[in-house]
């Protein structure tokens, strides 16, 4: 028997993705639709001896082909032979959802209407007469409660048992389609015809609502009551800050960091010692032991220790997203973001950038206008990502031991200020003619579906594991080779290829106070991945290992002090180096993401050059200004 081809459509926030996850579980393939970076999710499931393929189409409010998502939906529905298209409808918001349903019926797609979130509709006093709706539309109607397993089984039963060829649009829908056709053929202008078509659709929706839906006067909904507190004009911002503080506490203090410390100990102590002893015991040559331990394990291990933090942070954010609170954050911060030249939705990429610039750049997709998206992409790498943190911790502990926390906090502030300044300048110059709008749907508050949260967390976090095993692994080997060899063979580190390249790079920093080949090499390697700045410093100045932990950073700093790092930097030049590290060119992965997201080598190159230039100028001002002030 052939595979049953099913597509899911629906408005955003109707629980469509939750249903898709429930139906397909882990059996999903995620890719992009051709030409655009909109998710294409395809899942497979077997039920009643029937193979079913399910495509989760992007959520849209219509299929007018105005946005990339709308084009994808309509082109997919028109160009693929589908057995069934399930339109997932939010029962508590039926009137708005029916607009898409009517459009799909006009296109003659084999439509199954899923009245989802019936429980929420009932709680709001909304009752939909399923039989009447089925009669009015002429298409089968089912009801679900989003993430219940009963609903999942029921849907799969419906998929395999419903013969769509038995269903035909009702007389009401047929006459609507005839009406639409006559409007389009009436000779009206395109705009006037479109207006008339929309009016006709709403007239049909009004009739359906009048005949199939009854509403009790239920007063304020649960979400409206919660919003009275969480989105309250006075309390909203303090509550938002408290929640975010909680997320960072969970990530960096309570759960994420302890796990990271355990992993750090496991990799950088236990495994490193075990590997060294095993290799030496097996009689492996000294250079190979050094490559594996000093190069690969130290390099890859430094990145792997961040993985628990990343997963915990993503879990918290996915959980918050599932509750519906994320949409409120954009709403709450809109007035502040407007002053920065962005809109409220821009807050999320900026927040994400404190974890990693890559998801932050990708997160800018959620922004509505091209201007907001481009500005957000170009400024988020200024912020202090997790990979920059060890640089700050190391230098602050070494050169400002009394005020280390203040200096690191200062670096965060410098990053935020530069992002705001750059957003203002870019918004007023390069993108000044492009308007931006802020349209946001506030979904109702819900208890998140843990399965969806876990799938999303894994989906977002697994990239870091892959990155550690690929680019960081390759970079670690390269760094080790470059720091141990020159073109004549094995050599001392100060005669190595890394030293030569670092020497060239250092010529740019003659007026910045850190024109040493070691600093140049560290900054150069940081373009591969920011973590490698500290790893390179560790190799070049002889620290045994590198850690994100403040106490261990102090120990590493003291080791380095004894081996000459203090002679390479003064407190002022160290501060200038930190400022430069904070602001300069994003890592290659972030640059690659900028290329992908902007679909432009020009913007990727612009990002690399303008950030380097700003970092160079600001760092120069810091150093020369500091000297003038007598530091």
């Amino acid at each position: 028997m052939s595979t049953l081809a099913v597509a899911l459509t629906g408005n955003p926030n109707t629980g469509k993705s939750t249903i898709f996850n429930e139906l397909t579980g882990a059996h999903q393939k995620i890719g992009n639709w051709p030409g655009v970076t909109v998710d294409k999710k395809v899942g497979y499931v077997n039920h009643n001896d029937r193979a079913i393929s399910i495509v989760d189409l992007p959520g849209t409010y219509s299929v007018s082909a105005r946005s990339p998502e709308e084009k994808i939906v309509i082109e997919y529905l028109m160009n693929n032979k589908l057995d069934l298209v399930m339109d997932v409808v939010d029962s508590s918001n039926l009137e708005r959802n029916l607009f898409l349903t009517i459009q799909l019926l006009e296109q003659g797609v084999p439509l199954l209407i899923d009245l989802n979130m019936q429980d929420e509709a009932a709680a709001r006093g909304i009752h939909v007469d399923m039989k009447k709706l089925e009669e009015l539309l002429g298409m089968p109607v089912v009801e679900t409660v989003g993430r219940s397993s009963k609903s999942t089984k029921k849907l799969l039963d419906v998929f395999t048992s419903t013969v769509m060829s038995q269903y035909h649009p009702s007389e009401l829908v047929e006459s609507h389609i005839e009406n639409i056709r006559s409007i389009r053929e009436s000779g009206k202008t395109a705009e006037a015809a479109e207006e008339a078509v929309i009016e006709a659709r709403y007239a049909l929706i009004d009739r359906i609502m009048a005949e199939a839906v009854t509403m009790d006067n239920a007063g304020l909904t649960k979400s409206e009551k919660i919003d009275r507190v969480l989105a309250n004009g006075v309390l909203a911002l303090p509550i938002f800050l408290a929640i975010m503080y909680g997320v960072f506490q969970i990530t960096f203090e309570w759960i994420g960091q302890p796990l990271a410390d355990m992993l750090d100990e496991l990799i950088n102590e236990n495994f490193l010692e075990f590997a060294t002893a095993s290799l030496e015991g097996a009689g492996v040559a000294e250079w190979m032991v050094s490559l594996v331990t000093d190069g690969i394990i130290s390099g890859v291990g430094a990145v792997l220790t961040f993985v628990p933090l990343i997963f915990v942070l993503f879990f918290c954010l996915s959980f918050l997203d599932g509750t519906g609170y994320m949409a409120r954050i954009a709403f709450i911060t809109d007035p502040i973001m407007c002053r920065c030249g962005l809109t409220g939705k821009g807050i999320m990429p900026l927040m994400m950038a404190h974890g990693c610039a890559v998801p932050a750049v990708m997160g800018a997709r959620a922004l509505d206008s091209e201007k907001d998206r481009m500005v957000s992409i170009l400024v988020t790498p200024f912020l202090t990502c997790g990979a920059k943190l060890p640089i700050m911790a190391l230098f602050a502990a070494m050169f400002f031991p009394e005020h280390a926390a203040d200096v690191v906090f200062g670096m965060y502030i410098i990053g935020i200020v530069m992002a705001i300044v750059a957003a203002k300048i870019l918004g007023a110059t390069t993108f000044k003619d492009q308007g931006s709008t802020f349209l946001l749907e506030l979904p109702p508050y819900r208890m998140p579906d843990m399965k969806t949260v876990m799938i999303e967390t894994w989906d977002k976090g697994k990239g870091y594991l892959i990155k550690a095993g690929t680019i960081i692994f390759a970079a670690s080997v390269l760094l080790w080779v470059m720091s141990n060899y020159n073109f004549s063979g094995p050599c001392e580190i100060d005669e190595s290829i890394l030293a030569t390249l670092g020497g060239w790079m250092s010529k740019l920093f003659v007026f910045h106070g850190f024109a040493t080949w070691e600093a140049g090499a560290a900054l150069l390697s940081g373009i591969m991945a920011k973590e490698t700045v500290v790893a390179t410093m560790g190799v070049l100045y002889g620290a045994a290992e590198v850690s994100t932990e403040a106490e261990e950073a102090v120990e590493a700093a003291q080791t380095m002090l004894g081996t000459g790092m203090a002679t390479s930097f003064t407190a002022l030049s160290a501060f200038a180096f930190m400022v430069f590290s904070q602001l300069y060119t994003p890592c290659v992965t972030a640059l690659g993401t900028i290329k992908k997201e902007t679909n432009s080598w020009k913007w990727m190159g612009f990002s690399a050059v303008y950030m380097f230039a700003i970092a160079w100028v600001v760092s120069l001002i810091v150093y020369q200004g500091g000297k003038l002030m007598g530091f």
Binding site: P12, N13, S17, T18, I30, V36, T37, V38, D39, P58, G59, T60, S67, P68, L279, G283, V284, M288, V292, I296, D321, G324, M326, A327, I329, K345, I347, M348, M352, V358, P359, M362, G363, R365, A366, E370, R373, E456, D459, K460, G461, K462, G463, Y464, I466, K467, G469, T470, I471, F473, A474, V477, T589, G592, T593, K595, K596, E597, T598, N599
Partner: protein
């Protein structure tokens, strides 16, 4: 012999790592954040309304 085996393991791992990086580069993909698209730190819920242009 032990050095040779160790070098071979590293070389094979390096080959696969570089091949992965090269394929990502050619396809214009990134490992960070997988390929989950707008769900990476989005506020749009359910991967809706996310696009690049």
């Amino acid at each position: 012999m032990a050095t040779f085996v160790c070098a071979a393991v590293v070389a094979i791992a390096l080959f696969f790592a570089v091949r992965h990086i090269y394929r990502n580069f050619v396809k214009g993909e990134s490992d960070c954040c997988g390929t989950s698209g707008c769900s990476c730190g989005d506020s749009c819920g359910g991967c809706s309304g996310c696009h690049t242009k």
